[in-house]
């Protein structure tokens, strides 16, 4: 999915071998899950099969991570198209979060759902604070800042949703109290 587009994007500045790609990936998306080596090679393999990248060379002493890849014309077009496509404005609330709350409400006491929500809220708040701090670190570059912004905006939305849900659960609880 988007990992392959990130790899295409990284190759758009010139050929790179697998190890470089992994490093560059992790550096450009410091808040995302690091890409495992296996994932780099399987993704590259798929991109190669689809004609989006091709081998540009291999170091003499080379193991598999010494193969250099470059973008094909088709790869460049595909990347362009992806960048030009607006994503559907889907609600962000991570599906796991929502599922947990729904399940908690369905299967447990409102207190249980309330305390899950409270814990989740505390975790979100802590992360939000860390990101805010890192963003204002004088050594942060523009990439760090916009990546932090992205996560902050979504955590902010999640937190508002959690707050509203806490209020709803509280009301529900009041109604069920004699």
């Amino acid at each position: 999915m988007s990992a392959s587009f990130v790899l295409l994007g990284l190759l758009s500045s010139g050929p790179k071998h697998g190890y470089e790609l992994k490093r560059a990936y992790d550096r450009s998306l410091p808040n995302a899950k690091p890409l495992a080596f296996g994932q780099v090679y399987s993704t590259i393999g798929r991109l190669e099969r689809d004609g989006l990248v091709e081998r540009a060379g291999q170091d003499r002493d080379g193991g598999p991570d010494r193969v250099t890849y470059e973008l094909t014309e088709l790869g460049r077009q595909t990347l362009d198209e992806w960048l030009g496509t607006v994503e559907p404005p889907a609600p962000y609330v991570s599906s796991v979060l929502l599922a947990k709350v729904v399940v908690a409400l369905l299967t447990a006491e409102p207190e249980r759902a309330g305390s899950y929500l409270a814990d989740q809220r505390a975790a979100h708040t802590t992360r939000l604070r860390e990101l805010t701090r890192s963003k204002h670190d004088p050594t942060a570059n523009i990439g760090d800042v916009i990546t932090a912004d992205f996560t902050i905006a979504h955590l902010d939305a999640d937190l508002r949703w959690l707050r509203t849900t806490l209020d709803r659960v509280a009301e529900l609880h009041q109604e069920t109290q004699p």
Partner: protein
């Protein structure tokens, strides 16, 4: 160390209860966020803590000294020398320039004109708006006005800054710049900050967050409203 302490603070407006018994400790040097839904009593709490309003019950202590029972002149001296306030709309004097607005608290405290102006210019520079020193509020953007208000709130080098939705009227990026300045400058001065907001992202600038609901602080440490913590009506 606790710099400000509230115990069982109650405050109503006529029949409307705004605070129903609030107790909290503000630690020296921290940025404390107070969050909660509209009408839960955040501004009332801030006004009580800052000595602008008197609670009907309970006690407020500032550096070990009880302040809620002090006379108006005692509390007003406290507000002039120890506290700074920053509201959603800067509340600058429209007829005065930025530099004159910032110099005002010093002039009121008896500082000489030249010295006050020098300090005002220094503070405008520290918050990044030295270039509009001679503009009136009407000739400044919202973000510039708010920074100017921040400079005015800090020019007396207060020990505690009270801020009520200080970026509520600003767009995200401008608000972020103002908050960034606020955090940096208060950190440099070791100023304690009590920050009221309903925006999680603004609370992200705080070291600690307390949440309020229906005139009481939520009990759990993280400031969370568990259903049983709700005070029924």
């Amino acid at each position: 160390m606790t710099i400000l302490q509230a115990r069982g603070v109650v405050r109503s407006y006529g029949q409307t209860p705004a605070l129903r018994g609030v107790s909290l400790d503000v630690h020296e040097g921290e940025i404390l966020a107070v969050t909660g839904p509209s009408g839960c009593g955040k501004s009332t709490l801030l006004h009580c803590l800052a000595g602008i309003m008197r609670p009907q019950e309970g006690e407020i202590h500032y550096r070990g000294q009880r302040i809620d029972t002090g006379s108006e002149s005692v509390r007003s001296k406290l507000r002039r020398t120890e506290f700074g306030v920053l509201f959603q709309f800067g509340q600058l004097v429209m007829e005065l320039t930025a530099a004159e607005n910032v110099a005002l608290p010093l002039l009121l405290a008896g500082t000489g004109r030249r010295e006050a102006r020098t300090a005002a210019l220094t503070w405008l520079d520290r918050v990044g708006v030295a270039d509009v020193a001679d503009n009136r509020p009407g000739q400044m953007s919202g973000g510039q006005q708010q920074r100017c208000a921040l400079a005015r709130a800090l020019v007396t080098e207060p020990r505690v800054l009270f801020a009520d939705e200080p970026t509520g009227a600003l767009d995200t990026l401008t608000g972020e710049q103002v908050l960034g300045q606020l955090v940096r400058v208060t950190h440099e001065q070791r100023t304690t900050v009590v920050l009221v907001t309903h925006e999680p992202r603004v609370a992200g600038y705080a070291d600690r967050e307390l949440t309020m609901r229906d005139g009481v602080l939520d009990e759990t440490e993280a400031g969370i409203a568990v259903p049983s913590g709700r005070h029924g009506r």
